[in-house]
Symmetry: D2
Subunit: 336 residues, 4 copies
């Protein structure tokens, strides 16, 4: 009977916790805010929603809240990855989850968001959840104010972790994420996974590697030509080396993509043209790790840095989360 | 007590009924199937999933089921508009709703869908709901097989009705649709509404006019250039008159759009680049009816036919649903 | 013998005169330079090469010289249309031509061009010819500096005249222009002509109407999407009414086009994707005036203003050239 | 006196010979015509103008004559590169040039061209010149017939030669080609050159290497997106390995480009968005060989095969022209 009640309680909490809407924003620390501003605002054309000494709050033209905060700091890293949830009950459910699983958590506030639940997930990733956010008039139809390639809205985040399989299972079981695609080897071990809440291809992707680290933060682009324009702009500014990979088309997600690195090495993906996953019978697409179509349906080979480098993440009590190596070693064949 | 129980029962039914996922497919009757094939397959490049004497089942490259059936018939019209639902319980809830509200309904089957609940909504629209559908391998990444402008997936349907306000309320209260945008006049009367379940701008739009009639059926396009290509192809085939309106950009939805008319006059919209509405605090955007930015952020004036013409819809017991005139008369100022 | 010598002399002069390279620049007078700057620089994104009190010198990103001068003046009009020639001998030949035909001419200078031969052609058009121009580093590959839709380079000019046939013949015989396309009626009367020196579709187009007036000045755009972007930008700035016609695709020239009107009503065409005419056996494409494919392969009907309005041109001795009505009256059928 | 007369004669011949209009067509031998047809027609979408046993005559949608002949043969190679000339006198001038310089030549005919002057240039390249060609109705505005990425028209040819400097000088002095861009090292040795007759960036490019060989044959594309579409189509057909390099943007020419290899290894460039060079004071753009912006303003590193591989060329008396190694060895730094 107690067991049954507990199960029932868990189930209610789970249901509440499952009401994550979407990936929503992140906070990067950067070592030279002026250089970062030149890159994100001057070249990529992100829009400054708010500015204060030592920090910039940026957004795409469709974003009605800030989606990327840049914070001047001695070292570059990621403070947290934040998800928007539907109800306050969902936040309560997340607290219950944290307590049940022994995950550290605390309440914080940040600009425009009075009540942010910060916790560290079992894989060391600093995540945050919030319901309430002040929204701002978007710039979507203010085309005369769009600058650069016109980044549109936050799309997804990709995290490097040594145990993709477990992390995928945890986000699925606890938070109701569904896998749209995954990469496995012939032994059935999962090397990467794309999971979603919003009905698109992914809110969160996980890539095998020493972790937790941020692999990349992604913005949705209006079309492939705006991604080509990003390349032209970076080349015009004599910074083509900021392009790490692409443009090309992913097999996974079918997206037209470009990866760029900011002055601190944080990786940003410009991403467009994936597909819809709202149907309950959408079957997870499973790719073999060495299928060359997986990473790039077409496109140049992937540089080694793209597999090996990522941004470290802030530990719950300060400093950086220690990295754990992955037991899965090796790289796909189409790497240079 | 009885009342309370009923209320509770309704509430459970409503919750079940609310689990409509998205608009999913339609069936058009056409008077010359060969001419329709030339238009939909030969020019628009829709893909034939199945063919039988007197009927074609078509889909876009991302669609995993057929989304448009063309059926040879003596007269052109629309047999039904079909929505996909999440669970069988949802279908049961819809039956309960139909019985409670006295809406005619019956179970049907169609190709790939063994159990389709057909009913007539209170506004005379023949709608259908189904959970199960056989899915097919999509053509999304078979770019070598894409033809014409490359229609990607079903996006939404637009229905003409003399009482937009009531219809919006009914779909909202009974089926959980949320309004992303609406058009009202200075007296607060609603002339048009865009409502959604899927997290996009709309699954269903309603436009004031004698109804019920189909205003248009819409496909999502990969980008604006593919819509330009549709124009070029129609012009190349010496059928530019099939273009009724556009290309242009809507104020409402922000979409880049084109309206074409098939050989029977059925109206198809090619549509791309709208926005995401998953946030619970997304506030309905309200436009004044005479705001010139509403219909076309930019673009040529709208021809009168676009406001006046639509496809009639099949009555539950056969024949066509009789039209009811709207009490709201008049047109926006930017009509030619 | 004298006659023969004269013929020979003429022939030599003609050969020299024939070495016009291309249409090169124009000078507009405008009544509110700030408003014009907002339009041309702020919205269209033309680049300021030089600025002086009361005047702006603008260019596209590929232009190595200024191609549009805006000059503050009490009344709006066009000072001259200027062509670049290959040699000084060509300028001498043009002087001989002017003297032989009694055309007024004088030498002028303007910024970056020390020696400009200004004359009035037999149809009242103020034209100028020059060989030497100071060139500037282009901005073609400085993509980070491109603004707005990214106008690339001057493409052509279109002049309204009551006698298209004679004007086409004169530019052909005297200056070696070749017709790529023309519009005629069933009586063989020429309503419009597109003639070229540069190997493209046209440097100079002539349209039937009271003249001489400027119909439009055109810039080459990188692609159709940059023209769509121009529409979006004008709409974003709440100035969609500056779009007079388009976007669409011309039958003539096959170009994807947009016509916009500046604050004084000067008409600018944004133009792209025509074809090459360098082959000597390229046969002039002849269109019947009422062929609906001619003006717009596809696109909305043409507003009446597009046929009726133009910018007046400066007379050789000051003031404006008096207009001559055309005997050819009427409009194509696809006008609104 | 004799010397003076000879000089005068030469000068007249030179003037005549200088009237080359543009690069016009080529003939490839291929070892499996069906495989080549699948590639050129089925995937790239070139249009079959004529077909005969063992040969296909292809063209882009703007081409009014065939521009690529594929000929079944035991070995793959290039029969000739053909230029169109303005007059028969030009052909006579070219014969005089051949005799004066001891270049082998003969008259041939091919489909649609009754009189083709074939010769071998001093660098071993089999070139052909012709004035008369039967022209065909183009497909430019038959958009409904365009297939695949829509190759538009022949743009240029690129030849590998061990002596770029001499070859550039010969084509300049004898045939009036002008250099738009060139690559040199710190010792002033020329590694590559882009020379033109038509007023674009190049009709003929020369790249340092063992030669003579064909480096690539290039078609003009309507826009960058059509090049992206070519990538998607090749990937869809599971042939992404046919993409050798790109997409990217060249520093030289500013073109957006893609290089693909046909089933025999012949290299085709899809190319768009360069600039105009008709002005006589257009100064040759000179790049340092190790300037990374030169090859790719942005884009992935260039594979070694792109520098090393090319198609051999037919010798005047049959067989293949023997290759001469270049004394300039080494590669740019951005090669993988």
């Amino acid at each position: 009977m107690t067991e049954s009640r507990q199960a029932s309680a868990v189930s209610t909490q789970e249901r509440a916790a499952a009401d994550v809407i979407r990936i929503a924003h992140t906070v990067f620390t950067v070592t030279d805010l002026d250089a970062s501003r030149d890159f994100y605002v001057g070249l990529l054309g992100l829009n400054v929603l708010h500015e204060e000494p030592g920090a910039l709050y940026l957004r795409g033209v469709e974003d009605r809240e800030w989606t990327l905060k840049l914070e001047q700091a001695p070292e570059a890293g990621v403070r947290h990855l934040a998800y928007r949830v539907r109800t306050d009950a969902c936040l309560d459910g997340l607290v219950a989850l944290a307590e049940r699983e022994g995950l550290p958590y605390r309440w914080e506030e940040e600009l425009d968001r009075p009540r942010l639940l910060r916790m560290q997930d079992p894989f060391g990733v600093p995540v945050a959840f919030y319901r309430e956010s002040r929204t701002h008039r978007w710039l979507l139809q203010d085309y005369h104010l769009h600058r650069g390639p016109g980044l549109q809205r936050v799309d997804h985040v990709n995290v490097m972790t040594p145990d993709v399989g477990s992390m995928m299972a945890w986000y699925g079981e606890r938070l109701g994420f569904r896998a749209s695609e995954l990469t496995e080897d012939e032994d059935g071990r999962i090397w990467a996974a794309w999971i979603q809440r919003r009905g698109g291809v992914h809110d969160l992707a996980m890539t095998n590697g020493a972790g937790p680290r941020l692999h990349h933060w992604a913005y949705w682009m209006p079309d492939a030509m705006s991604i080509i324009r990003a390349c032209d702009i970076l080349a015009g500014a004599r910074q083509p080396e900021r392009i790490e990979r692409g443009p090309g088309r992913h097999g996974i997600s079918n997206a037209f993509f470009l990866y760029v690195r900011d002055p601190d090495g944080h990786r940003i993906e410009l991403y467009t043209s994936d597909y819809v996953t709202v149907d309950p019978d959408f079957e997870t697409i499973r790719w073999q790790r060495d299928d060359p179509r997986r990473q790039t349906l077409w496109g140049a080979k992937t540089p080694r840095s793209w597999f090996e480098e990522g941004s470290r993440m802030e530990a719950f009590d300060g400093g950086w989360v220690a990295l754990t190596e992955s037991e899965l070693k090796g790289m796909p064949s189409n790497v240079i």
